[in-house]
């Protein structure tokens, strides 16, 4: 059993450093575009199934495929109009199927990070050598298409093993987005090297707000603005990080894109906003705060 603090420890408010971004901005905003691909006929999964409802599930498959054909392009153009670089969280097989998506990331200067191979292949139950093969596959595939390796990680369909975080730092990943205990970056305890938890979001995620709860895009846009307002306010005292998590098959639909653009225009319309990527946030934290916070954590524990 892994105790809850074993991976990250706790630091009381009095012992936390005041966070400042290099150019003095109050808030860092990063947009994660989750580009996921599912197989039409994936193998039976461990614990849970990629298509639990019916086989084949052409409704769910084609709904997801809308993201490949239409959604990602509509979303990229909306972000272009807002002057925002996205961070593509990609099931890497997507680049083998649709290399034009990788090319579009390169030409836009988007960050690309790894979301496993397919969203229909989970990490549950993999041996260490099998899990290493998945990680190496992700590094190889992204490097082949982008000319550089990924620095961030989310497990496929959010799956993991108890050893995943240790393997990530060993393979040169800088950050994970799978810990939700803080809304600022935080050091993750790993066996070798350093790994940062960069705040992602389950709350401000189109898949929970629109896909899960069935809210309208207007509600989602308002939630984005509310989240921004509060973090912007708090960012005056100590810099804050805000993530907006999108899925092309959902937010790339024609009836939603206007609402997203309106919310993003609101964010971009403020001064002192750092429009950035996960990797840039991780590198800023590693350079400026990681070691200080680790020392403070060791002090609390000793």
């Amino acid at each position: 059993m892994i105790s809850h603090l074993a991976r990250y420890g706790y630091l009381g408010a009095a012992n936390r450093p005041t966070l400042r971004f290099p150019d003095g901005q109050r808030i860092a905003v990063w947009i994660v575009v989750n580009h996921e691909v599912y197989e039409l006929a994936p193998p039976i999964g461990p614990v849970r199934q990629p298509w639990p409802r019916v086989h084949p599930d052409i409704l769910a498959y084609s709904h997801r495929d809308y993201g490949n054909r239409i959604g990602i392009w509509r979303l990229m153009e909306a972000l272009d109009r807002c002057g925002i670089r996205g961070s593509l969280n990609v099931n890497v097989a997507a680049f083998d199927h649709f290399p034009e998506i990788a090319e579009a990331c390169v030409s836009r200067g988007w960050e690309v990070f790894s979301h496993g191979v397919y969203n229909s292949r989970f990490l549950y139950g993999l041996s260490e050598s099998q899990e290493r093969a998945v990680i190496e596959d992700c590094i190889e595939t992204i490097s082949r298409h982008l000319g550089r390796p990924p620095r961030g990680w989310m497990g496929p369909m959010g799956t993991m093993t108890p050893r995943t975080l240790d393997l990530l730092s060993e393979y040169g990943f800088l950050y994970t987005v799978e810990l939700f205990h803080e809304d600022v970056p935080f050091p993750v305890k790993v066996k070798t090297g350093r790994l940062v938890s960069v705040p992602y979001t389950q709350e401000l995620n189109d898949i929970s707000v629109i896909g899960g709860a069935g809210h309208t895009p207007a509600v989602y846009a308002r939630m984005i603005q509310d989240q921004f307002d509060r973090l912007y306010l708090e960012g005056e005292a100590s810099a804050t990080v805000m993530c907006i998590a999108l899925h092309p098959f959902l937010m790339g639909q024609p009836h939603r894109i206007r609402h997203l653009e309106k919310a993003l225009a609101y964010v971009v319309g403020h001064d002192d906003v750092w429009l950035t990527t996960g990797e840039e946030i991780a590198r800023w934290y590693l350079e400026s705060y990681y070691d200080t916070v680790v020392r403070a954590l060791q002090g609390e524990e000793s």
């Binding site: 084949p56 649709f98 292949r121 009836h255």
Partner: protein
């Protein structure tokens, strides 16, 4: 947890394009620019659902979308759906007639037996009739491959053809669910286009063992059954979102290829008194948009075949 076999990390379909051979990948940016026959950029198809559920059916392995799945006998759920062929349909039909737009209907063949007057009336109104399985309670999936599926498709189409005298060229599977053979079975039975695949705002070709079918865009997330029946948003939110969707597609079609969208209307949902006025205003607002071609899915299929044939000729010359 049991160890995973190494085969779990082998990916047979990992290659350029799709992981199957039914259709090719095509992004919205790759399609040649074209206009619909009237010069419009956006085609809108109205598909009214004429459906029959089975009160006494087994409790199915696959839950049909919209079926409340309560223990037999569930007259509460069943008659609410039945309302769609009666008061709900009359109200929806009046609104559509007043709007003067092209209409099609997806018809379970059980309806042509149980409500033959409803189907005859739809035909007499000039609505295009689209095959929609035998009953909305019976969902096609891999568990019924082979004779069972062939019989279902054959029965559904021949009943509608006999009842209406129409060729029945289009198909929408109940709950938008197919087995891996359905497209082959449909094409062999003379179907020319299907509405089951929700991955595009444009038609595209699906390969079958009897030549290509066309996929015509249908409505999933803007379906009244999804928006109002499943996630239970308000009717005015439904209307605003359809307008937003149409405006986005119309704007894209002015600078790129034409687009196609669908209003999928279930009379048991949209035909209730407190909703139908919103449907009326939705049609009014959509008719105020410029560059819209109101068409049936069959019209869209015909136009798209002509457009792509012309494109191929140009490409060859």
């Amino acid at each position: 947890m049991a160890p995973m076999p190494n085969e779990y990390l082998q990916y047979a379909g990992r290659r350029r394009g799709m992981d199957h051979d039914r259709y090719e990948y095509r992004s919205m940016r790759q399609h040649p620019i074209f206009r619909w026959p009237t010069g419009a950029g956006l085609a809108i198809a109205v598909v009214v659902h004429l459906e029959s559920f089975r009160l006494d059916a087994d409790r199915f392995a696959i839950r049909p979308i919209g079926d409340p799945m309560v223990e037999f006998p569930d007259f509460w759920g069943y008659t609410r759906l039945e309302y769609g062929n009666r008061g709900g349909l009359e109200r929806v039909a009046r609104v559509l007639e007043a709007a003067g737009v092209a209409v099609s209907c997806a018809v379970n063949s059980d309806v042509s037996m149980r409500y033959s007057a409803v189907v005859a009336e739809a035909r007499d109104r000039g609505w295009e009739i689209i095959g929609h399985g035998t009953s909305s309670s019976i969902v096609i999936h891999d568990g019924m491959r082979g004779r069972e599926e062939e019989t279902l498709v054959h029965d559904a189409l021949s009943s509608l053809r006999e009842a209406t005298g129409e060729p029945i060229r289009g198909w929408l599977s109940p709950s938008m669910s197919e087995s891996q053979d359905t497209l082959d079975v449909l094409a062999a039975c003379g179907v020319e286009y299907v509405l089951d695949w929700v991955n595009d705002d444009l038609p595209y070709e699906l390969a079958t063992t009897s030549g290509p079918l066309l996929s015509i865009p249908y409505a999933y997330e803007l379906n009244d059954l999804y928006v109002l029946g499943e996630v239970k948003q308000t009717t005015w939110d439904y209307v605003d979102q359809v307008i937003d969707g149409a405006r986005c597609l119309a704007a894209e079609s002015r600078v790129g290829a034409g687009r196609s969208m669908c209003l999928a209307i279930h009379p048991w949902i949209m035909g209730v008194p407190h909703r139908v006025g919103y449907f009326e205003s939705l049609l009014t607002r959509l008719r105020e948009l410029s560059g819209v071609w109101w068409a049936t899915p069959g019209d869209i299929a015909d136009a798209y075949m002509e457009i792509t044939a012309a494109g191929r000729q140009q490409g060859a010359s």
